[in-house]
């Protein structure tokens, strides 16, 4: 690669260049330009990671299709399909947009922030953004026998009895599924959904 035969002698470069002030001037110019652009912008739509929220919200929507709930999970034949949300208000906004106007098996999908324990049983999917492990354990203990698909995005979510954990791996949102927890909640997860999961824990009934 480096056959330095008859190597041409290397000369030291001499310094030639524009004065530093022109350099600073250009930098300042560009920053002003950028500032201007930012100033001109209006509206509010930037999320810390829009794509991640969007992908996660679409997963929740897909879960409604690829999971079967027992009949007793719905009060009436026309009762809406409820996706409950604990924590993360920004995600709530994205999720609300995603499910707006959507239906699953003829049921309207609604998004509902969950504030009290009494509301746990009112939803079909419960998305839990709770970094506090103790609190997370308490929530999961309360819903584990209800026909509620618990979805999380935190460490040890499945160990604590959650059904589906959304995990970031190699820049992607991947799925880990806990079939034991699903069975306890009387939920049947389709083979299609299981086939895209990275980790499937436990056995189907």
């Amino acid at each position: 690669m480096l056959a330095d035969h008859f190597n041409e002698r290397v000369q030291k470069p001499t310094s030639v260049g524009s004065p530093t002030c022109s350099l600073i001037r250009r930098a300042v110019m560009l920053m002003v330009l950028m500032g201007l652009v930012i100033g001109v912008n209006r509206g509010w739509g930037a999320e810390t990671s829009l794509a991640e929220y969007r992908v996660k919200s679409l997963f929740l929507f897909n879960f409604a299709t690829y999971v079967d709930w027992p009949a007793n999970a719905f009060a009436t034949a026309s009762a809406p399909f409820v996706i409950g949300l604990i924590g993360d208000e920004k995600f709530a906004a994205v999720l609300a947009q995603t499910v707006e106007g959507k239906t699953v098996s003829g049921r309207r999908i609604v998004m509902q922030p969950i504030e009290t324990e009494d509301d746990f049983g009112k939803c079909h999917i419960l998305f839990i953004d709770e970094p506090d492990q103790k609190r997370l354990g308490e929530i999961l203990d309360k819903v584990k026998t209800l026909p509620v698909l618990t979805v999380g995005e935190t460490d040890r979510f499945m160990e604590r009895g959650g059904v589906i954990n959304l995990v970031k791996r190699q820049g992607k949102v991947r799925l880990d599924i806990n079939l034991d927890a699903a069975r306890q909640a009387q939920l049947a997860i389709s083979v299609r959904l299981l086939s895209v999961a990275d980790v499937v824990k436990g056995k189907a009934n």
Binding site: M1, L2, A3, D4, H5, F6, N7, E8, V10, Q11, K12, P13, T14, S15, V16, G17, S18, T20, L23, R26, A27, L30, L33, M34, V37, I38, V40, N41, R42, G43, W44, G45, A46, T48, S49, L50, A51, E52, R54, V55, L58, N62, Y66, Q97, T98, D155, R156, F157, E159, N165, K168, R169, Q170, G171, K172, V173, R174, L175, S195, V196
Partner: protein, 695 residues
């Protein structure tokens, strides 16, 4: 597209265009964003109709390479850029060279032999990217003879269509990677079988009688086996005729000058690549073999000019078994064992007759063969829910390290055969000090047979005062081990002696980064750096003998600032603009080093023209003038590239048409010490069309 490069003045119009185009791109961002929003309701976007398979493979904002585990870009202890497969298609990038040219702060030069990467004002002419660690799925590509890794369009050994994303981590990362993670780490993440889920065939053709074909098959089977196999072949005639005034005997006094400085049919290139991966649960087996042959018209290293070109032939391959296991939700064990081989052969025609005598051309062969076995194991552990610890060990056994040089007459000038080994241990901790303050600290010890041990730390303090705002304060140290060529290549016949006492080069960097998410899907980042390279290995004259020898002689200091604004919109609109200003000096003389542009401007704009099916991609790159090895200056230039890309107009078909060097700008790369040419003119306007069919 043949053109005789006769040094016309730089196109003043195109130079003036750069800032104007940048301003236009920036100013248009919000307007275009509004337009994109208006076309469809904001809740509906390109993601809306993704299948489950596409969803699990959709890239969100995170990076692996900075810490060897997945983390948010804003929490990585480095300035990171991520480039995706989508951008590769929309901007018509032919390979890693095109891709890296578009990245903030990077510049790529080419001497019609190889491509050379520069960043932070540092690029030594003739340095085969030894100060960057190039990874393919985390597997190091730098060889064990020169520490070289190739990053050109067709010599980087990974087919561009197999790239899922490229992570560019700026600054030193020897604290987790060891050798060569000096100015940056570039990790090429390849696609997996399930992402193809079937077959794909691709053909492309363009200027310089260029042709490329590829065939890929990939699938995830019901039994959880995921498999991918892909092969490609590329050939190009290159420039049919090139003119080098340095070799024009009418105006040059060099004894090798002849043929009126004209060289014909000596710029051809050929490359092929086979890649396969099989994954089953925790195991992934990967195999890669690639070759690349290039005719070199520049008659470098004193070779005979004209008639028979010199030729560089490179082969690279590896087999790797990777194990990645999650224990519970807090522990992860990763291990890999691999076998690598790298082969290089350069053939150089020399006129043995000497000046004035009848020509007597003899071929000389300069090359190397190296192979090595590497194993690395690391354990990642979540501690007390919030903190992350990682420890790792790495061992490398160099089975063969051979450097040789001989000629057709049977004379052997260099014949150096060795074996050696190195080992390393490292640890990294990410501690959550406050809910909005992270400390990332890493330390790695490497031991080499040649020079002994080296310890390299990295410290990062990452502060999120507000949700959309991140400050990073970084300190890092890295090393580059002297390579076998520098240590042992001894050929007194060419006036070059070995220096087995070489010490590693070291770099220390300080960096402050500010990242801000802004309204209207915009993201802004600013990064200011200062670094000092000590004991830089350079070729000098040995005192007493006057022979060439590599020694730890130079100290280089650099400071600079990089600004970037990026907007990604749900409709598929993408706009990015960056500006880098830097100054890099030889600390002893105070002179600016060669090949160090003070200003770099990049602008990339991709606009959806028809739904999410047809896109127009425009990129502009400005590089200010640089000093050459012979103390002259190579002019500033602006390059524009344009690509029209469509997908799914016909089911399963992607088509694109690209024009490179849109303004037909005359620009030059620097020659190295081995070149008679101080600067080497680059290609003018050229085009390519490409079709990809999925089935």
């Amino acid at each position: 597209m043949n053109r005789i490069n006769s040094n016309p003045p730089v196109n003043a119009l195109s130079v003036a265009l750069a800032p104007a185009a940048l301003a236009l791109a920036l100013a248009l961002m919000p307007v275009l964003a509004d337009a994109a929003d208006a076309i469809r309701p904001s809740k509906s976007d390109a993601l809306e109709n993704l299948t489950l398979e596409q969803l699990i493979n959709y890239q969100v904002d995170s990076v692996f390479s900075a810490s060897k585990y997945e983390q948010k870009v804003t929490q990585a202890p480095a300035s990171v850029s991520i480039v995706t497969a989508d951008e590769i298609k929309k901007f018509g990038w032919r390979g890693m060279g095109d891709l890296l040219r578009s990245v903030r702060g990077f510049y790529v030069s080419n001497d019609r032999s190889y491509s050379y990467l520069g960043s932070r004002g540092f690029q030594r002419p003739g340095d085969y990217n030894t100060r960057y660690l190039i990874l393919v799925d985390g597997h190091p590509m730098n060889d064990n003879l020169y520490g070289a890794a190739l990053v050109g369009n067709y010599d980087s050994f990974v087919d561009v269509d197999l790239i899922e994303r490229v992570e560019i981590v700026r600054g030193p990362s020897s604290s987790i990677y060891g050798n060569s993670a000096f100015l940056g780490v570039i990790n090429i993440v390849t696609k997996t079988g399930s992402q193809f889920n079937g077959g794909e065939a691709s053909v492309e053709g363009g200027s310089f009688d260029t042709f490329k074909g590829r065939f890929s098959l990939g699938k995830k089977f019901a039994n959880d086996i995921e498999w991918l196999v892909s092969g490609s072949y590329y050939t190009s005639e290159g420039q049919r005729k090139l003119y080098y005034p340095e070799f024009d005997q009418r105006i040059s006094s060099n004894p090798r000058a002849r043929n009126n400085g004209v060289v014909r049919d000596s710029d051809g290139e050929e490359a092929a690549q086979i890649y396969t991966s099989v994954a089953y649960h925790d195991f992934t087996l990967t195999g890669l073999y690639a070759f690349r042959n290039k005719d070199v018209p520049t008659a470098s290293f004193g070779a005979f000019f004209g008639d028979t070109p010199l030729r560089n032939e490179d082969q690279r391959g590896y087999v790797e078994l990777k194990y990645d296991r999650q224990f519970g939700e807090t522990t992860e064990l990763m291990g890999r064992v691999s076998y690598d081989a790298a082969d290089h052969l350069g053939s150089f025609p020399y006129d043995y007759a000497g000046t004035g005598r009848p020509q007597d051309t003899v071929n000389d062969y300069d090359g190397s063969f190296g192979d090595w076995i590497t194993t690395e194991w690391r354990l990642k552990q979540r501690v007390l829910d919030r903190h992350t610890m990682m420890v790792g060990v790495e061992y490398r056994e160099n089975l063969h390290q051979e450097l040789f040089n001989y000629d057709d007459l049977g004379t052997s000038f260099v014949d150096d055969e060795r074996t050696s080994r190195s080992f390393a241990a490292y640890a990294q901790a990410e501690a959550v000090i406050l809910t909005n303050l992270l400390l990332n600290a890493g330390l790695r010890y490497d031991h080499y047979d040649s020079f002994g041990g080296t310890l390299n730390p990295r410290l990062g303090l990452i502060y999120n005062p507000w949700e959309k705002t991140t400050f990073k304060l970084l300190y890092g140290q890295a090393f580059r081990a002297p390579n076998n060529y520098e240590l042992y290549y001894s050929a007194t016949a060419f006036g070059q002696v070995a220096n087995p006492d070489l010490q590693p080069e070291t770099i220390q960097t300080y960096e402050v980064i500010y990242e801000q998410y802004l309204p209207a899907h915009l993201r802004f980042s600013a990064s200011a750096f200062f670094y000092e390279i000590d004991d830089l290995i350079s070729q000098t004259l040995q005192p007493g003998t006057g022979l060439l020898i590599f020694d730890n002689v130079e100290t280089v200091q650099s400071k600079g600032l990089g600004l970037e604004l990026e907007g990604k919109y749900p409709g598929g609109l993408l706009a990015r603009a960056s500006y880098t200003v830097q100054r890099t000096d030889d600390a002893d003389t105070g002179d600016e080093i060669s090949n160090s542009p003070r200003h770099l401007v990049k602008a990339n704009l991709s606009v959806p023209l028809y739904r999410d099916k047809v896109f127009a991609g425009l990129e502009l790159q400005y590089q200010s003038s640089v000093g050459t090895l012979r103390g002259r200056r190579a002019d500033e230039f602006v390059i524009g590239n344009f690509t029209l890309f469509s997908r799914e107009l016909v089911k399963g078909l992607e088509a694109s048409a690209s024009i490179y060097n849109l303004f037909d700008t005359h620009y030059e790369s620097l020659g190295s010490g081995g070149h008679l040419q101080d600067t080497i003119p680059q290609d003018g306007r050229s085009f390519r069309v490409k079709l990809t069919y999925k089935f």
